[in-house]
Amino acid sequence: MSEIIQVVSLHKIFRAGKMEVPALRGVNLRVEEGEFISIVGPSGCGKSTLLHIIGGLTSPTTGRVIVDGMELGRMNDAQRTEMRRQKIGFVFQRFNLLPTLTAFGNIAMASHIAGRGNGTSRTEMQAVVRLLGLEDRLRHRPAELSGGEQQRVAIARAVVNHPKLLLADEPTGNLDTTNSEVVLNMLLELNHNFGQTILLITHNPEVATFTDRIVNMRDGHILEN
């Protein structure tokens, strides 16, 4: 298996006026294609920043980040956007569904943005919907869905374009235990059945037990693999 993520000596410093706040202090990380990996650490340890950089939502201050052979530090905003469109799927703690669209509309929007338009075949869409148990909820808007259902729609939206990498930011943070397990099992199923590479960040060590590999973070450093 090849490496899909390579992070070398990554630093990220946020500037607030004259203050400099280091969020990442020399992070090194390698992730193989098909891995299900979790990064665990308390709030403020830099795990979300790391995820955002790997996902191309923000740029590193120094260091190298290579995702699927592309070095993010050398990419401009438009190129990072293009990479997100083609290679990355996001799942967020707060679900982040578009409130005016139905579940189906949210999933279809991802295909539309990826330039697949209606090219995502019905079979593909149905397979994802069936896998996530959303057949009966497609016509509902986010406000009419439970938290667990919303997160399943968010996962469907993230994987419908077959991204190389699925980045999950505290995906169970807003869910009760039962729904958390459902969501985690679905991620596990995506990983096992479809070889989906998943990078999950969480502050909850129990959640991390669902993954193949756990990486701990503190104060902007990776502690151990």
Binding site: L57, T58, N96, L98, L101
Partner: protein
């Protein structure tokens, strides 16, 4: 998504659509009213039935603004010409009672000789000096019947008859009576001339120009071609100012609408960006939403314009509104351009939003 967004805030959507509609209505009605009045005046002047008009050199093409500087004796000199069949000296006076309207002071016999006479709908011909004729549109607008007395030029005048519209003015009275009222004894504003050879005005024009080299001598074709808003002093400026105001309304409302919509949807923009939506895609979404709003407003504006024209036609029959396809198209394009300009900054701002900050937005 765009339609869903519009339906999500129905009041804001309705307000924006209405603002664009007001913009379109303002453009169509201001231009329509201006062009309608000019065209109506031109057609009524043509309706006098003359082939040629003679005016002083420096006066306006708008007869009501011309004053009455010409001696009536010129009519006799014109009548002597072989190419002239009939001459009607007319004094033109604007009156502001019951809305601005023109009064023609006429010699009934010569006016009929040039134009073939009035068609009476009510009453009888001009007799006494304190009598007037009004056309049917003026009568309808002011609820006047033959035999009634009206206040005009600070006088009580009796309506002798109601005639069919289209013969120059809406009110007619004896020439000498009007001259007397205005203190312009022996003076007139215009001579309407009927040529001796129907359809051939050139010989008559040439003869008149030889006799009256310092006067404006025009055939009706030339007069009609000059009676456009662009040839009349100040009208184009008025139209431009009114269109500017209309555009400002549309532009500002769309700007505020889209700006507030963008602020409200900060998080959604972050979501779209996290999914890989480019700046162009975000701008496209905002501008498409604006376009739909504007098209709805344009449709509503055009419908309202026709409705208002019908209402004005009933309530103020003397105010003609000319709606042309040319100006309908221009109003649509102006409204669309104003909306897109108004939405361009909010769209640009949305496209530049940082996805992480946008996703963290509460």
């Amino acid at each position: 998504m765009i339609v869903a967004n519009l339906l999500m805030r129905p009041v804001r959507t309705a307000l924006s659509v209405t603002a664009v509609a007001v913009e379109v209505v303002l453009i169509i009605l201001v231009v329509g009213l201006t062009h309608g009045m000019v065209q109506d005046t031109a057609l009524r002047t043509q309706g006098v039935g003359a082939d040629i008009m003679v005016q002083p050199q420096t006066t306006s093409i708008l007869l009501g603004l011309s004053g009455s500087p010409m001696p009536i004796q010129i009519a006799d000199r014109l009548r002597e010409l072989s190419q002239v069949k009939a001459v009607a000296p007319v004094m033109v006076q604007a009156s502001s009672s019951g809305g601005v309207t023109l009064i023609y002071g006429i010699e009934k016999k010569s006016f009929d000789a040039v134009g073939g006479g009035f068609r009476f709908l009510e009453g009888h011909d001009l007799g006494a000096s304190e009598e007037v004729l009004v056309d049917d549109i003026y009568a309808r607008a002011n609820h006047i019947r033959a035999g009634q007395t009206i206040q005009l030029l600070n006088q009580s005048l009796r309506v002798a008859g109601v005639v069919e519209h289209g013969k120059g003015a809406r009110i007619f009275m004896q020439l000498d009576a009007l001259q007397d009222l205005m203190g312009s004894i022996g003076k007139v504003s215009v001579f309407f001339v009927k040529g001796a050879n129907p359809g051939q005005t050139a010989p008559a024009l040439e003869q008149i120009r030889q006799v009256l080299p310092n006067y404006q001598v025009r055939d009706m074709q030339e007069f009609m071609s000059l009676m456009t808003a662009s040839n009349l002093p100040g009208l184009n400026n008025f139209i431009t100012v009114m269109i500017g105001l209309a555009v400002a309304i549309g532009l500002l409302v769309i700007f505020v609408t889209m700006y507030s919509a963008i602020a409200e949807r900060t998080r959604e923009i972050g979501i779209l960006k996290s999914m890989g939506a480019s700046k162009k895609c975000v701008i496209n979404i905002v501008l498409r939403e604006t376009t739909i709003l504007t098209l709805l407003g344009i449709g509503m504006g055009i419908g309202l314009s026709y409705l208002i024209r019908i209402l004005i036609g009933v309530i103020f029959p003397t105010l003609p509104i000319l709606i042309t396809g040319d100006w309908l198209l221009r109003a649509c394009l102006i409204a669309l351009a104003a909306s897109l300009v108004g939405a361009s900054y909010p769209a640009f701002r949305a496209s530049r939003q940082d996805p992480i900050q946008a996703l963290a937005y509460e």
